[in-house]
């Protein structure tokens, strides 16, 4: 039975979903599960939830809960990472509040933009520390990374280590489900092909029985049925011809067209929830508190749509599946730079995670992705070399920040953020 390590297991809600998925498979129900977190209090809550979950499923896993990372990783076959470095307070708040002083507003700030850059700079050193441990303690491990900013984190790991890593997100399957509802076609009847970079992949195919469903998506616009919370992505469908995988509030900050200092009308017209991520963090903190108070109540287990358990199951049993993984661009998408982190369909079976080759994307999609990859490349460069100048460069190439600010403002914004984050960041020179 495999050993599966949860890194950042104190993310109780997320860990519960993944663990429920895993233990629901008979072949995995007596796996060895190691829960690791630096916060022993949160870890305790997760451990209690895990035991109740196993009981509810009638599963008999071997549990271990530890704040010792080396112990958790020792001999692991799978490591699943769900950490957040710096937390909501102080780190995330800083990422929102300081840019705001410069007139730079954000909605999610976990992928690209000033917030995404800073989050990567906090996270990458921790991830690299982890993979160094893995190289010693479990060199054959499969590392499933759920931590954002996905592309930057995975790119950095791939550049720095040979540990088998795949970045996972639920935006591809999640958006497909939303679109299925919008056009009234059961999701089980839909076949799609998506590719690109994480949070900015596009559905190259969206069809039922070989019949193109894009006309039905365009009909949603024509008939005025665009959901209020999804106006940005339908606008992009109109302008670029393809539907993107990550939500409207995310997408609005990856491009320069929607959030503009002197254009409050756009925020209203496209219904962009500025500061949304802050509200989500507050809600999650509340949910965790509630969960902690209900440790005795019975637990309902439903399978999630996360890929994590499916990958482990396919690798263990050989049952072939297709998942969307974030992997190094080794001749997968021709018109994106070699080595960058791309999100493509991957075959998973006993041979491992096997990315499929996409070829060239439509040029307008590749072009848009290049603007995001620019920021990723420079952030990764900064994180791996410790050179401060590349942090400035990353901000200078960010499509949203560069549209709003001049060079002097961008530099002093970065200076101020680095000072505010203090010890959460390594030294840059």
């Amino acid at each position: 039975m495999p050993k599966i390590t949860f890194i950042g297991a104190g993310s109780t809600v997320f860990a519960r979903n993944l663990l429920g998925d895993i233990l629901s498979f008979p072949e995995l129900s007596s796996a060895s599960i190691s829960l690791y977190d630096i916060d022993s209090e949160r870890l305790k809550t997760s451990e209690a939830v895990a035991h109740r979950l196993a009981a509810a499923l009638g599963a008999t896993p071997q549990f271990e809960a530890t704040t010792d990372r080396e112990r958790a990783l020792d001999g692991a076959d799978y490591a699943i990472c769900m950490i957040q470095v710096g937390g909501y307070r102080p780190a995330t708040l800083i990422d929102f509040e300081i840019p705001k002083k410069y007139g730079l507003r954000q909605a999610i700030a976990d992928t690209l933009g000033i917030g995404g850059i800073m989050r990567a700079l906090r996270t990458i050193p921790v991830l690299l520390g982890m993979v160094r441990d893995m190289e010693r303690l479990c060199p054959a491990v499969t590392f499933l990374n759920y931590v954002n900013p996905m592309a930057m984190n995975c790119w950095a790991i791939n550049r720095a280590s040979h540990i088998t890593t795949v970045g996972l997100c639920h935006s591809v399957q999640g958006t497909a489900e939303q679109l299925a509802r919008d056009i009234g076609v059961p999701i089980d009847e839909i076949n799609y092909l998506a590719a690109g970079i994480n949070h900015l992949a596009f559905y190259l195919k969206f069809e039922r029985n070989g019949q193109d469903l894009y006309p039905l998506l365009h009909q949603v616009i024509a008939e005025g049925r665009v959901p209020d919370w999804n106006r940005v992505r339908y606008e992009i469908l109109r302008r670029l011809g393809y539907f993107v995988t990550e939500s409207s509030e995310h997408f609005a900050e990856y491009v320069p067209y929607f959030i503009k200092r002197d254009r409050p009308d756009l925020i209203e017209r496209f219904n962009i929830p500025l500061d949304e991520y802050l509200r989500r963090c507050e809600a999650q903190i509340k949910e965790w508190e509630e969960q902690r108070g209900r440790l005795e109540e019975p637990l309902e287990v439903r399978r999630s749509h996360e890929y994590g358990s499916l990958i482990i199951h396919s690798l263990e049993t050989g049952q072939p599946r297709v998942v969307y993984g974030n992997v190094s661009n080794e001749h997968l998408i021709y018109n994106l730079p070699p080595g960058c982190c791309v999100e493509v369909p991957c075959l998973v079976d006993k041979n491992g995670l096997q990315p499929t080759r996409i070829g060239s994307l439509p040029p307008q999609l590749a072009a848009l992705m290049q603007t995001n990859i620019n920021v990723q490349a420079l952030t990764v460069e900064a994180a791996l070399t410790g050179k401060l100048e590349h942090i400035y460069h990353a901000a200078m190439l960010d499509p949203h920040a560069a549209a709003e600010l001049d060079l002097g403002q961008l530099w002093s914004l970065i200076d101020e953020l680095i000072a505010a984050h203090g010890d959460w960041l390594p030294e840059y020179s």
Binding site: E235, R239, L240, G241, V255, P256, Y257, F258, K260, R263, L266, Y334, N335, P337, P338, P363, Q364, A366, A367, L368, Q370, T371, I373, N374, V375, A377, L378, E381, E389, H390, Y392, H393, M396, L397, P399, A402, A403, E404, L405, D406, L407, W411
Partner: protein, 445 residues
């Protein structure tokens, strides 16, 4: 002796300079020079000037002039393109219409809405020319001087596979300027420069093994230096390297400097204090267009001056054209910075895009050298421009009208200033008003 054809020879000043270079080159002095233009009057003036050069120097070169392009290229060994499709009339639209939407272009011939439309007008003419070359001069080397360089060359390579090199004088010109700033004799300077046209960077600037960048960093702080190139100096301070095209151009390829008319007038223009930059209006919107319009008025006087011999003949200029032909004819190697398809030359730029890299030229032709990876921030900046170029090529080669919109949606300056519906309206208007110069598939919805 080779036959050298100039397409767009009515650009009389350029024609005279290039022909003077050719005629100063021993290996080319008995060439046949064929001048072609659609404007008979200007063609005749160009012919007069070249004939005067030949007579004045007592050479045996032959020169002919024709408005028939097929005649001009028949049997040519070198074909040099310098035409401007749509002329100043189209150029005015390139500047004025975007300006009404808030896009403040200074030169507008490389990127931005102006660059996109200039390319869309030009590429069909270049492709036509290449088809005729396949028939009438299949071995001819195409030397393209027409902007937007990168998009034009990329389209020709992608559509025809014909040997070509795109040429510009920004690398040489900038290197001379930098040498003069730091007081190092130009002959002693060695540089390594690569990127894309108008946005290549001096990766190395040396005298022997001595890195001259520290000297450059020092002089940048001097007021009279900064006043010459405020934008390029700001970019060097931020990106770490000096870029090859002037501050007027450089300011419009990025989103930082021209966010509004007010910003241009109150923050950008006042930083230009050197009258040598008046050719692009000290960074003002439409600066270079206005310069062209005023020069148009003076063109007749120019011609009279030149033909009367009142302006001294220039020494051999720093344009690459004559040096390339000489190196190929004599098999004496030279190095130029040429625009060629990116076939494993710059590893962190897209395959097949048009890159400007050092090329060896000798009897074997144009041989690009592999640069490897650019510093990440420079490649990233180049890629923002390459996005637009790739979509221009897509539009020009497939006739997909959507790709024109996509190109301008990806333009860094336009995207920083306008919303998607505004871009849509602007491009729709530009496609309509420039329909006469565009392929019908692009012009009509």
């Amino acid at each position: 002796m080779p036959k050298i054809t100039l397409i767009g020879a009515g650009s009389v000043v350029f024609t005279r300079n290039l022909c003077s270079d050719i005629l100063l080159t021993p290996a080319l002095q008995e060439s046949t020079i064929a001048l072609m233009d659609v404007d008979e009057k200007r063609l005749k003036q160009a012919l007069d000037l070249v004939q005067a050069l030949i007579a004045g120097r007592g050479l045996r070169a032959r020169v002919e002039a024709t408005t028939d392009r097929r005649e001009a290229i028949r049997g040519a060994d070198y074909v040099v393109t310098t035409f401007q499709q749509g002329g100043l009339e189209a150029y005015q639209l390139d500047i004025a219409t975007p300006q009404r939407y808030g896009i403040e272009q200074c030169v507008g011939d490389t990127l931005g809405p102006g660059g996109v439309f200039r390319a869309l007008r030009t590429i069909p003419v270049l492709l036509d020319l290449c088809r005729e070359l396949d028939e009438l001069a299949p071995e001819a080397l195409l030397l393209n001087y027409v902007n937007p360089m990168a998009a034009n060359c990329w389209a020709v390579s992608a559509a025809t596979g014909r040997p070509l090199v795109g040429l510009c004088h920004s690398v040489q010109g900038t290197s001379e300027m930098l040498a003069s700033w730091i007081g190092v004799p130009y002959q002693e300077v060695v540089y390594h420069c690569a990127g894309i046209n108008h946005q290549a960077f001096f990766l190395e600037f040396r005298r022997g093994q001595e890195d001259l960048y520290p000297l450059l960093w020092e002089v940048l702080e001097r007021d009279e230096i900064y006043a010459q190139e405020p934008v390029r100096i700001d970019l060097m301070k931020s990106f770490g390297y000096f870029v090859t095209e002037s501050s007027g151009h450089a300011s419009e390829y990025v989103p930082y400097f021209r966010k509004s008319a007010r910003m241009v007038e109150t923050e950008l223009v006042p930083r230009f204090k050197d009258p040598r930059n008046s050719w692009y209006g000290l960074g003002r919107t439409g600066g270079y267009l206005n310069h062209c319009l005023s020069r148009l008025a003076a063109a007749q006087d120019d011609y009279q001056e030149l033909i009367a011999g009142n302006k001294p003949l220039p020494l051999r200029s720093n344009e690459y054209g004559s040096y390339i032909m000489e190196a190929i004819e004599t098999n004496r190697p030279i190095r130029i910075n040429g625009n060629v398809p990116n076939r494993a030359l710059i590893t962190n730029l897209p395959v097949e895009c048009c890159v400007e890299v050092p090329c060896l030229v000798d009897g074997n032709g144009i041989q690009p050298t592999a640069v490897g990876a650019l510093p990440t921030q420079l490649a990233a900046l180049n890629r923002t421009n390459i996005n637009v170029q790739e979509l221009i090529v897509e539009a020009a080669l497939t006739g997909k009208r959507d790709a024109v919109f996509h190109a301008i949606m990806l333009d860094p300056l336009t995207a920083a200033v306008l919303t998607l519906p505004e871009i849509h309206a602007m491009v729709t208007e530009m496609l309509a008003e420039q329909a006469a110069w565009l392929p019908p598939k692009l012009a009509t919805p």
